[in-house]
């Protein structure tokens, strides 16, 4: 790197802050992280410490024409999610649907639920970037690779966490008992239709960490969903919905998986001078757009702390269950060992902060 502005004690040429950031983003961030005195924690360009997350703002139920909706803000990243439930008749269902129906609450089989939800495509997430949400997005073109990647990640996480129950999405009909000899015989329930949830995620602006914001909004919106009571009317031979709001029910989600994204910032990237200088790396939590443009490595950890909630109503960090880890590659200097091995500090940092975020956001969404 030709820019060595930060190493000179008295720079001959000095720039205002914004120009420094635009001209040489990497030294700019490194200067920020190294500048502070050893006693103080290093601050990033956006004023946060390395471990600090932006405080999310969650607002649910703001859209009138959706079954559930949420607006989530993470700093300047703001995203709206609306969930709309539509009826899919059983005879129109793609793949026909198998005969598997979850009957009672007791025999809950998350695996089979998910297979069925996936096969019938009862969950349809979509991500849209609004014009001007990010400089990279060119309006009027087909969904960009990043938007498609986001959709895939959200859809696969929705399925792999077994978040939704199939029982919530079925519209069943129990025909009256016909057999006069055995009036006690339980008539077999028929699946007449399914609810399909269209999860539309709309980015108003993106300032880094798009996945976390998108997932949080989808989760909050799903928690907010109220599905009207639907039933099969035998005389009309169609499905009717009750207009009484008291009949509507919400979804019972399994767990509360919360993502936490980190970026790894490599100090001193003179990669062609081997073995020169010591390595300094920072793990930056909840990176903003500027940091994402500078950092090449990122880690996304999805944690679920809700499973171990006992009668005490307290969630401990011991109960954390990992649902997913995604780590993208980088230039080879840093390895994920910082995260994976207990003897390094980075590991505990990511672990503990992922849990802390889970607890914090869990409380926020549930309130």
């Amino acid at each position: 790197m030709a820019t060595t502005t930060q190493s000179q004690p008295k720079p001959a040429l000095s720039f205002p802050r914004s120009i420094f950031a635009a001209v040489s983003p990497h030294p700019f961030l490194q200067a920020h992280l190294t500048a502070s005195t050893p006693a103080k924690a290093p601050l990033r360009a956006n004023g946060r410490t390395a471990q600090e997350f932006r405080v999310p703002g969650v607002n649910t139920g703001s859209l009138t024409h959706c079954n559930g909706s949420a607006v989530v803000r993470l700093g300047n990243t703001s995203v709206v999610c609306g969930v709309r439930a539509e009826i899919l008749k059983a005879e129109d269902a793609q793949g026909g649907g198998s005969d598997y129906t979850p009957t009672a609450e007791g025999d809950d089989d998350p695996e089979r639920d998910t297979v069925e939800i996936g096969n019938l495509r009862l969950l349809v997430p979509n991500v849209e970037l609004s014009t001007g949400s990010t400089p990279q997005h060119i309006p009027g073109s087909a969904p960009s690779t990043s938007a498609q990647t986001l959709i895939t990640r959200i859809r696969s996480l929705l399925l792999s966490t077994h978040l939704l129950r199939l029982a919530d999405l079925l519209i069943q009909y129990a025909p009256p008992a016909i057999d006069p000899d055995d009036p006690d015989a339980e008539p077999e329930k028929q699946v007449k239709a399914y609810w399909v949830l269209y999860i539309d995620i709309f980015f108003i602006s993106i300032d880094g960490n798009a996945f976390d914001a998108a997932w949080l909004s989808a989760l909050a919106a799903l928690k907010d969903v109220r599905i009207p009571h639907a039933f099969w009317d035998e005389e009309l031979e169609t499905i009717l919905c009750s207009d009484n709001p008291a009949d509507a029910r919400s979804l019972t989600l399994r767990g509360l998986p919360i993502p936490a994204t980190f970026a790894v910032f490599e100090g001193r990237r003179d990669w062609d001078e081997e073995g020169e200088g010591e390595e300094i790396n920072w793990v930056l939590s909840d990176p903003d757009a500027f940091e994402e443009s500078v950092c090449r490595e990122s880690v996304c950890v999805v944690v679920d702390c809700s499973a171990g909630r006992g009668s005490k109503g307290k969630k401990g960090p011991k109960d954390a269950v990992l649902r997913r880890i995604e780590k993208s590659a980088q230039r080879e200097r840093v390895s994920f060992e910082h995260v994976g091995r207990p003897d390094t500090s980075g590991c505990w940092m990511i672990r503990s902060s992922a849990r802390a975020v889970d607890l914090e956001i869990g409380a926020l969404i549930e309130s």
């Binding site: 297979v115 690779t145 990043s146 792999s160 990992l322 997913r324 980088q330 080879e332």
Partner: protein, 253 residues
């Protein structure tokens, strides 16, 4: 069971490879360094473009996601700064998938990912694109055992193995660089940090474990016939065979 690889068999591409393992067959072709479109040109480094074509139909968001993963990984091993303002184009065509793939109950993209990584690396090697290191990748599946604890990890299982071991508790894909650094990790399912650590350890062994110190150069020759050599040795054997084939005239005369 070692994967099979066929290098430089497409004559119109700069480099190519066909890779077959566990019922997956992928053709990879690399063109580069070639001229880049103005819009994609980067002033200081090469643009890397990855195209994944599925076995049937046209690409979907699933393929875009795989492309993003591959792009990030390959960009970090290609010496992009050596060939600035050029394009390295990698095209991967999935030729066949195992029949049981859909029934295994595991995220299919994760099953495909290590094979795509290997194919693209072999194609890059065949095209002689400057690389900073090699990579090896492996899939680890952790089945759930009757007890609440997780069962023994399956290393690079076939689709039938997965089907037999159902239900699978978690799936992990790891990619290591030549110097044993973790390049990529995708984990999915229900697991704890300890399970992840164990899976990572197992993957590292499968990819780049060194047996009894640094092996002599001559020793690698025997790996050919032997089973359960690690993936890095396998890669070395593949490359050595390619070089021997190319140098056969020089050696003979």
């Amino acid at each position: 069971m070692a994967p099979e690889a066929l290098l430089s068999h497409l004559h119109r591409a700069d480099g190519s490879a066909t890779y077959t393992h566990n019922g997956y067959c992928i053709i990879g072709a690399v063109n580069g360094p070639i001229e880049v479109q103005r819009r994609d040109e980067l002033p200081e480094e090469a643009t890397v473009e990855v195209n994944v074509r599925p076995a049937a139909g046209v690409g979907s968001p699933k393929e875009r996601h795989l492309e993003t993963l591959l792009h990030n990984t390959l960009r970090s091993i290609i010496l992009t700064r050596v060939i600035p303002r050029t394009l390295v184009q990698i095209t991967l065509q999935v030729r066949s998938l195992p029949d049981e793939e859909g029934a295994a109950g595991v995220h299919p993209s994760l099953l495909l990912l290590p094979h795509l990584l290997h194919t693209s690396l072999l194609a890059l090697l065949s095209a002689s694109i400057p690389l900073s290191t090699t990579l090896t990748s492996v899939l680890i599946a952790i089945p759930s055992s009757p007890t609440s604890k997780s069962g023994a990890p399956l290393v690079s299982p076939t689709a039938t193995d997965l089907l037999r071991a159902k239900p699978i508790r978690s799936v992990h894909v790891f990619a290591f660089s030549g110097d044993n650094r973790l390049l990529l990790n995708e984990s999915d399912g229900v697991f704890s940090f300890d399970v992840w650590d164990e899976a990572c350890e197992t993957a590292e062994e499968a990819c780049c474990r060194e047996e009894g110190g640094v092996g002599l150069v001559g020793e690698g020759m025997e790996v050919d016939g032997k089973e359960s050599a690690n993936l890095e040795e396998w890669l070395r054997v593949v490359v050595r065979r390619k070089v021997e084939h190319e140098q056969r005239w020089k050696v003979a005369t």
